[in-house]
């Protein structure tokens, strides 16, 4: 609980600086607010606004934000059992509901109607929970959930953290918008430094292997070098070319099973990295169970 509070405080500060910097950069107030409600993923919001403030097109902003959020897909796999009710139980309930509806339909129209309404109601509630839970998948809620043992505890941690952060994030962005509108020169307060600082703090804990460090370094050089000559937004996407270094070195030799490769590949690939958003606290354990599962395949 205390940890959720600390993370909430950190996110609140980021939210305030995000809202303030976005408005100070000349965007209307509803842009950061709508992003926070509809996207609810700090890094990608900051990235998208950063691209737009640098003069990039909305398309480039959406592309950058979307690439950052691909990690939510493996997160979803990791917390599927706590986001909604259990998959197997779900399917069993569905089958039971179908059977009940069939029987009721065959027996009597009236009873059938009632049963259908009841099962529809239960199904609707389950879907509502699932739809909301899905939106609450973030670095933080996943990290907190995976830290717990047993499904009830994981579930409680996920929902507590997810709801708390959704409220804190949106309130703090709103505060930031008010602050940014009230201040005349936010640059005097150094708010423009908070964007790159946040992104750096998010990325540093993920630089766990040599190959990703080389790729990121190359990408950064590409992006900075191209900034003077390309329209804003494009240098960033060109930075993805840094990933090409993965295949350029010895570590990318094709068709060799992962378990035969050296330590270079030992990464917690895509798995919710504890403290991705709060790397400062994140303890990293890059070469444990993932390596084992890779070897077993």
């Amino acid at each position: 609980m205390r940890d959720v509070g600390l993370v909430g405080l950190a996110d609140g500060i980021v939210g305030v600086s995000f809202g303030a910097a976005a408005v100070a950069g000349g965007l209307p107030w509803w842009v950061p607010v709508a992003l926070s409600v509809l996207v609810f993923a700090g890094g990608s919001q900051i990235a998208a606004v950063g691209v737009v403030l640098a003069g990039g097109s909305p398309l480039a902003a959406v592309a950058a934000g979307a690439v950052l959020n691909t990690r939510l897909f493996p997160y979803g796999l990791a917390v599927a059992d706590v986001v909604a009710s259990d998959g197997a139980a779900d399917r069993a309930a569905d089958r039971a509901a179908d059977r009940a509806a069939d029987r009721a339909g065959a027996a009597a129209r009236v009873t059938g109607g009632v049963t259908r309404r009841m099962t529809a109601c239960v199904a609707a509630r389950r879907w509502l929970v699932r739809i909301i839970g899905t939106h609450l998948i973030t670095d933080e809620s996943v990290a907190f959930a995976l830290r717990q043992d047993g499904r009830p505890k994981r579930r409680a941690a996920f929902w507590t953290c997810g709801i708390a952060l959704f409220v804190i994030w949106n309130v703090s962005v709103l505060l930031g918008v008010l602050l940014g509108s009230a201040l005349h020169d936010t640059n005097a307060f150094g708010l423009d430094s908070t964007f790159p600082a946040v992104m750096l703090a998010l990325a540093l804990p993920t630089l766990t292997s040599r190959s990703v460090r080389v790729a990121a370094g190359t990408g950064a050089v590409i992006a900075v070098a191209l900034t003077p000559v390309l329209p804003a937004g494009l240098p960033l996407l060109a930075a993805l070319g840094g990933l090409g270094t993965r295949w350029a070195g010895w570590s990318g030799l094709p068709r060799r099973p992962a378990w035969q490769r050296g330590g270079d590949q030992k990464r917690d690939g895509g798995r919710p990295r504890d403290g991705t958003a709060h790397g400062a606290h994140g303890a990293h354990d890059p070469a444990t169970d993932d390596e084992l599962t890779t070897g077993g395949r």
């Binding site: 979307a66 699932r130 899905t134 946040v198 790729a215 370094g217 990408g219 050089v221 900075v224 840094g242």
Partner: protein, 103 residues
């Protein structure tokens, strides 16, 4: 400028990434190599964004105050300082340098 359609598009894409995981659970396994590629792509983007946002404004150099603040923040983050400290240090260093007349 960021039109509402772009915000909604990013929201829908983001929701799709969140949704497909629980939907496909137990039916697919993501190849470890693909997971690594996603994770690395996010890292490369974040670092490139941090670099361009720290060093450039428009098509030119941003001045020294901002990269200096970000550098201090980066050192603090690498030393596992708490997140609020990192963010406040970045703004504080940049603000102080500007107060001292550094652009």
């Amino acid at each position: 400028m960021m039109p509402m359609t772009a915000i909604v598009a990013l929201g829908v894409l983001t929701y799709a990434f969140r949704f497909t995981g629980p939907l496909l659970r137990g039916r697919v396994t993501v190849p470890a190599a693909a997971e690594r590629l996603f994770a690395d792509a996010a890292t490369v983007l974040l670092i490139a964004l941090a670099a361009t946002a720290a060093l450039t404004a428009g098509h030119g150099f941003a001045g020294w105050a901002r990269p200096a603040g970000v550098l201090v923040a980066g050192v603090l983050a690498a030393r596992r300082a708490p997140f609020p400290v990192v963010v406040i240090a970045a703004a504080g260093v940049t603000a102080l340098l500007r107060l001292a007349g550094v652009p």
